[in-house]
């Protein structure tokens, strides 16, 4: 980090914002750790997902699809489609961060919903605060997410039968918690229900894993039809 001095109050507030987001979001890692064990992954595999994939929705998707009996390909495909988001965040963050080499590798790895969100929320405090917010939140979430993943994984391993502890219901509840903030408009809510319906219709007639990835077609159809947000080129 650069040693450019900033007004202490700004620095303190950015630090506090980053820390509170890191702790809160990091603690959700426990839910992932437990769910991953319940889906049949080992503690090592669970930890590697949090260390290497480090993107909550994609991680839950892999264990969700494979845990439901889906193939590795459909699991990877689902997780990858969810990971496109991170690429778009990178597009937004790159001109702000201006990093190369190893630092760009690190920046890319911690480009997630929260680091981008906190960086954008610091806009009124200037670019330096935005950069601090990005790095502090990205690294903070990384640390807590991985610690809590491990705690959740060991906890679930000690529990045994996932259904007896409600872990099998914790996974869809986590998905619901992840999608909830995205359901802003009536169109969003309609699409969400349509995706549930399509997946349920496909379950008895297609191999496990396919019903989930197939709903991506719904996003394409509706995204292409949406005219109001498309300015002329």
């Amino acid at each position: 980090m650069s040693a450019t001095p900033r007004p202490p109050s700004y620095r303190g507030q950015t630090f506090r914002d980053s820390l509170s987001v890191s702790l809160t979001v990091g603690s959700y890692g426990a839910a992932f750790g437990a769910a991953s064990i319940a889906a049949g992954f080992s503690v090592v595999q669970t930890s590697l997902l949090s260390l290497l994939t480090f993107s909550g929705a994609s991680q839950f998707a892999v264990i969700g699809v494979i845990g439901a009996g889906g193939s590795a390909i459909s699991a990877i495909a689902t997780a990858t489609l969810l990971g496109f988001r991170n690429g778009l965040y990178g597009l937004r963050m790159a001109p702000l961060l201006k990093v190369r080499g190893l630092r760009r590798v690190l920046a890319a790895h911690v480009t997630i919903d929260e680091s981008t969100g906190v960086a954008l929320s610091q806009e009124s405090r200037g670019e330096e605060a935005m950069r601090s917010g990005f790095w502090l939140t990205g690294i903070g979430v990384f640390i807590f997410w991985n610690l809590f993943t491990l705690a959740g994984a060991f906890g679930a391993q000690a529990m045994g039968n996932p259904a007896a502890w409600g872990l099998d219901a914790a996974v869809p509840a986590a998905f619901l918690g992840l999608v909830w903030p995205r359901l802003v408009t009536n169109t969003d809510r309609f699409i969400s229900l349509a995706a549930v319906a399509l997946a349920l219709v496909l379950i008895p007639i297609s191999p496990a894993g396919l019903p989930v990835i197939a709903t991506a077609g719904l996003a394409v159809v509706i995204g292409l039809r949406k005219k109001d947000s498309i300015p002329h080129e």
């Binding site: 699991a75 997780a79 990093v99 099998d168 509840a173 986590a174 999608v179 995205r182 949406k226």
Partner: protein, 102 residues
């Protein structure tokens, strides 16, 4: 390597590639409005489909069991603006309770 390992490694590689690509390509490349619009819906449809699959199926069979109660409780918790951990824990607790009574 079994499918669990393929899932772990394949996903990690793919997601990192996307993150790195985003940091490295010019901004106007993927900023076509239709692409953005589709991409905005992707998390909604996939996460919603996962909710359906994880709650109402076992392999390729549809079913309603204790998990449905857990999801209902989670929905209620979200409507009452409960934080994420409460949503997950209340779903797990109610589902486990029903599991033990059936």
């Amino acid at each position: 390597m079994n499918k669990l390992w393929w899932g772990v490694m394949g996903t990690s590689a793919a997601v990192f590639a996307l993150k790195y690509l985003g940091q490295s390509i010019p901004e106007n490349y993927l900023s076509h409005p239709k692409f953005k619009s589709i991409n905005g819906y992707i998390p909604i449809v996939l996460l919603s489909a996962l909710i359906g699959v994880q709650t109402f199926s076992e392999k390729t069979k549809l079913m309603i069991d204790h998990r449905a109660l857990g999801l209902g409780v989670a929905l209620l918790a979200l409507m009452l603006r409960a934080p994420f951990p409460i949503v997950v824990i209340s779903a797990a607790a109610s589902s486990a309770l029903l599991y033990h009574f059936t």
